[in-house]
């Protein structure tokens, strides 16, 4: 009797704790997801006379034949394929260095973490200055006689995406580095000692012990990297002023969605359909990655 009333109280308490978060999730996460799902099958007008007309899969068939969506998909994929491996490898290398007991390692850790704390729009503006025609990067390369003429990185359809890639790697690596650092501390030091006794060198230890042992963290890092890179928006938006130019070079899927949703009337449903396709794309890529990666770390390496 007493136990059941205590149990009841526990449940009420638990419900009271969970309720606020549940409400937030319902209102700000689940509702928008289902609403946009609904929108994606409709021709929607939300300004003035609100109307919803069911159009079936028309938005989706339009999207997969839309040239701009294809271009945006290509740009996004190029960005993902370049950024995710580089940022993951760089983060692991930096984490290893910072974990190796070099001098001032705490200072370096804090310094390297600073980019993560800065807002991405501020970072973009700083990098736009660095990459500008009369900016520091061009002056440096001219002074070193690597270039004869300054390059207009941000106004050239060939280089602008690469500039965005560089700024993004720079700003996201520290975050993943920190995740790797905590993972590295979990690796049993006995393994390294055993390897030392067997006469393994630094690189052998890194490839045979660190990399396999850290695989679960790598899975997480790559997964997070995939989802965030697929959603690239702020840098292209700021660099191109929202147009995705020059010549569609910075047009990403998120930017296309934004343009259809907020820059012109009557295409909210179409934008939702593209957003849904983007979600499916991220989901499929993540699942493929999961299928080929293993989290089965037995403690002996693999």
């Amino acid at each position: 009797m007493a136990r059941s009333s205590e149990r009841k109280r526990d449940i009420t308490q638990a419900a009271a704790f969970v309720l606020p978060m549940l409400l937030v999730l319902l209102i700000f996460t689940l509702f928008p997801i289902f609403y946009s799902l609904y929108l994606s099958f409709n021709k929607v007008n939300l300004v003035g006379d609100v109307s919803y007309n069911f159009v079936g899969f028309k938005n989706f068939t339009n999207a997969i034949t839309d040239e701009r969506v294809i271009i945006a998909l290509k740009n996004t994929l190029k960005y993902v394929v370049v950024v995710v491996p580089i940022q993951s490898i760089l983060a692991l290398v930096l984490a290893t260095v910072l974990n190796s007991g070099i001098r001032f390692q705490k200072t370096f850790r804090s310094l390297l973490f600073i980019p993560t704390l800065t807002s991405s729009s501020a970072l973009t503006l700083i990098f736009m200055f660095i990459f500008s025609l009369n900016g520091p990067l061009n002056s440096l390369l001219l002074d070193l006689h690597i270039l004869n003429n300054p390059i207009n990185y941000l106004n050239d359809q060939g280089s602008v995406m690469w500039a965005i890639i560089v700024m993004n790697i720079w700003s996201t690596v520290p975050m993943f580095m920190t995740i790797y650092l905590s993972g590295l501390q979990d690796i049993d030091s006995a393994m390294y000692e055993a390897a030392d006794i067997d006469g393994a060198n630094m690189f052998q230890k890194w490839f045979k012990i660190t990399v396999p042992q850290i695989a679960p963290v790598t899975n997480y890092v790559v997964m997070m990297g995939l989802t965030s890179t697929f959603q690239l928006f702020d840098q292209p938006y700021i660099v191109s002023g929202g147009s995705g130019g020059p010549n569609n070079a910075t047009l990403t899927l998120s930017l296309v969605i934004y343009q259809y949703a907020f820059r012109q009337f009557g295409t909210m449903g179409y934008a939702s359909a593209i957003a849904l396709l983007l979600t499916i794309a991220i989901f499929v890529v993540s699942m493929i990655f999961r299928h080929f990666s293993s989290e089965n770390v037995t403690g002996e390496g693999r």
Partner: protein, 423 residues
């Protein structure tokens, strides 16, 4: 156990307070929109110059002093996006700025209140407004959806010192386009390292050139017509001057954040900018020795752009009579003169222009003159889409990476596909 209960009780209380706070925010917002208190929400964007903000703030202060109605300011940094979300969410201001270029699309959506009945009731005279600026806010149903606050045209800014260095003076600036392009070539050889003319790769700055051969940038049904051979022919000389001769450069190509920075920094002889640059130059580049003149004729005709922004009323405003009071107040002669003088913009009322003596102001006169023949920045309901596509691709054409014909054909096809989607 006891401790546990205390802690959980405390956490619950925090949760409850947070929930109340959230609910409170919501309630507060809705009461503001309800407008039971005498407060009007006014939406605007800040503009480039601090004087403009000063003039606007004085307007608001004067209005509150005269009527006792308080003003709640709502600043738009990304007008198109923010206003659209506000309109969808029902949180748009009572009165807000409307650029002539977006009037058509807002009006056809029914989100603007027609002002005719208010104007009739108060016997509001409209004859004093410059006709093109007043007409810019007349909808396709003949009703009036806003009143112009000011207007701007473009002009040719020249750097006196650089002209002098090249051995010329302001009177040597040619009056026709072909002579002008030849003059730019001479300047380029005489002034190494200096860009003869710096432009902005924007549809609003090139539309009047495009239409100089008789074609319109939109078709009769409002679709993009940028690939019309006459438009390509009209724009070709300017693009060639950049891609081939390098006598014209966009401000991005020479590494500046805006055309004014390039001109103010003394890196370019000419800049084609709006009248709004006058006050910017006076504030930010005090030492610069510059002047303004009208554009050279294009294909034998004078041409220019006219931009105008007006005050419009939200059709969903809860306080329409006060909103009208506000619009009437800020567009009145006295307030218009205060604002135009402080912000150094061109007033939409003829009587104010006269009172300000703008025709005798050597910096402003070319802009006032241009109002007589300029092309308004208005082109149907799809202008934003057409503009975004143009501005996406045109930098590559100016750089010579893609031919102008291909660029405009692509921009047109892409824009028209999207326009079809909206139907």
């Amino acid at each position: 156990m006891k401790w546990n209960r205390k802690v959980s009780g405390f956490l619950l209380a925090v949760g409850a307070i947070a929930a109340f706070a959230l609910a409170g925010c919501g309630a507060k917002n809705s009461s503001n929109d309800g407008g039971s208190s005498k407060t009007l929400t006014i939406g605007f964007w800040k503009g480039d110059s601090p004087q403009e903000s000063k003039g606007r703030n004085t307007l608001f202060k004067n209005f509150t002093k005269a009527t006792g109605i308080k003003i709640k300011q709502k600043v738009y940094n990304d007008y198109n996006t923010q206003l659209m979300t506000d309109l969808v969410g029902g949180t748009a201001p009572d009165v807000f700025y409307v650029d002539s270029s977006v009037l058509a699309s807002l009006q056809t959506k029914g989100v603007l209140e027609p002002l005719n009945s208010y104007m009739k009731k108060d016997n509001f005279k409209t004859g004093d407004f410059y006709t093109p600026t007043y007409k810019a806010f007349t909808g396709n149903d003949g009703k009036q959806y806003g009143l112009p606050k000011d207007y701007s045209t473009m002009g040719l800014y020249y750097n006196n010192d650089l002209l002098k260095k090249a051995g010329y003076s302001a009177s040597d600036i040619p009056k026709t386009d072909t002579e002008f392009f030849a003059f730019l070539k001479k300047l380029k050889t005489k002034l190494p390292g200096i860009t003869p003319l710096t432009i902005s790769p924007l549809l609003a700055r090139q539309m009047f050139i495009m239409q100089s051969t008789g074609a319109k940038i939109i078709t009769k049904t409002g679709k993009s017509n940028l690939d019309d051979p006459r438009i390509i022919k009209a724009l070709q000389p300017l693009v060639d001057a950049d891609a081939k001769d390098k006598t014209v450069r966009t401000f991005k190509e020479i590494g500046f954040g805006s055309a004014m920075d390039a001109f103010g920094g003394g890196k370019t002889v000419f800049s084609d900018e709006g009248a709004w640059q006058v006050s910017g130059l006076k504030t930010n580049f005090k030492k610069l020795n510059w002047g303004t003149t009208e554009f050279p004729t294009i294909n034998g005709k004078k041409a220019n752009m006219i931009f105008t922004v007006g005050w419009s009323m939200n059709a969903d405003s809860k306080d329409k009579s006060d909103s009208w009071k506000f619009i009437k107040f800020v567009t009145s002669k006295k307030q218009s003169q205060q604002y135009s003088t402080t912000a150094s913009v061109l007033p939409s009322r003829k009587s104010v222009a006269k009172a300000m003596g703008l025709n005798d102001d050597k910096d402003m006169a070319p802009f006032v003159e241009a109002a007589n023949y300029a092309t308004p920045w208005i082109a149907g309901v799809n202008l934003d889409t057409i503009q975004v596509r143009y501005e996406n691709i045109i930098p590559s054409a100016f750089q010579g990476k893609i031919s102008l014909k291909d660029a405009l054909t692509q921009a047109t096809e892409s824009a028209n596909k999207d326009i079809d989607k909206q139907k």
